[in-house]
């Protein structure tokens, strides 16, 4: 799994550049590079459906973020309690990293998953659903309520975006405020 580690290190470097660079557009481009590396990682880990979804979502995400950041920039400032804030954050992250290390040591080793539930899906998917792609069989047949919940969340999020971004209603409110 040599290439997997290389790609993960590439993702980490991309993420570090994304959060430390001063220009917002460069940060968005760096996080996009990280997301496209994640797409290749999904391919290496034998998840082609996820790779397709990830590349589409990544491009849409980049378009949305560029819409938000273009021509808007903020100079880097170190005012305020810079040292105290950084120290508190790093202490919190150190505790979090230690707990994560302890938890990850207890997991089964990489490449040997526990597949008690999945074995049922692997055995029964073709007989019960006649779908050759097992991921499709799970999301559309065995766990279709999850997909219904996903559609509900998407609908709610789209309603929220439209309520925030529409122009007509905001103009009316502004006129009422002026009167």
């Amino acid at each position: 799994m040599f290439e997997l580690n290389i790609l993960l290190i590439f993702m980490i470097i991309g993420a570090l550049i994304a959060i430390e660079v001063k220009d917002l557009l460069s940060a968005v481009v760096a996080v996009g590079a990280s997301g496209l590396a994640l797409c290749i990682v999904f391919l290496i880990l034998k998840a082609p459906d996820l790779a397709i979804t990830q590349i589409v979502v990544e491009i849409l995400c980049l378009i949305i973020l560029i819409r938000a950041t273009i021509k808007k920039d903020l100079p880097f400032s170190t005012s305020g309690r810079w040292f105290f804030n950084t120290l508190a954050t790093l202490v919190f992250l150190a505790i979090f990293a230690y707990l994560g290390y302890v938890a990850l040591k207890e997991l089964p080793s990489f490449g040997n998953p526990i597949m008690k539930v999945s074995q049922f899906y692997l055995n029964e998917a073709l007989k019960e659903t006649k779908a050759t792609n097992i991921v499709s069989a799970i999301i559309l047949n065995f766990r279709a309520y999850d997909t219904l919940g996903e559609a509900t969340v998407l609908f709610t999020a789209v309603m929220g975006v439209m309520a925030l971004m529409r122009w007509k209603g905001r103009k009316d409110i502004a006129e009422k405020d002026n009167e």
């Binding site: 997997l4 995400c61 950084t86 597949m115 799970i138 925030l164």
Partner: protein, 112 residues
């Protein structure tokens, strides 16, 4: 175990950006990075060595596939991640229109 720890490191970078940065766009980028790390962790956990992707084909053996259940869950999670990112960016754009800045320490006027 190395991929697990690299994945944890990626998650920590995202959490650092959310907790420490003061620019709203940087906070959203931190959320996106943490989401990448969580999705990646599920897929890493379901990976089987020498396995193949969970798609039946007539001329191949079927008993050494990777775990399909995390893949199905993460497929849902990726799309929901896009929706939450779009909502967060919409809120950020409205804040910029109202206050003229992305700096969260300057956004302190709580007028309607």
């Amino acid at each position: 175990m190395t991929p697990y720890f690299l994945c944890l490191l990626l998650f920590l970078i995202g959490v650092y950006a959310v907790v420490r940065k003061r620019n709203i766009i940087k906070i959203i980028i931190g959320l996106i990075i943490a989401e990448y790390a969580v999705n990646l962790f599920f897929i890493l956990f379901g990976y089987k060595l020498e396995g193949r992707s969970p798609i039946y084909s007539p001329d191949q053996e079927i008993f050494n596939m990777v775990d399909p259940l995390p893949q199905a869950l993460v497929l849902t999670s990726i799309v929901i991640g896009l929706a939450t990112t779009a909502l967060a960016v919409a809120i950020a754009i409205r804040i910029y229109e109202k206050y003229g800045t992305f700096d969260i320490t300057k956004i302190n006027k709580l007028k309607g």
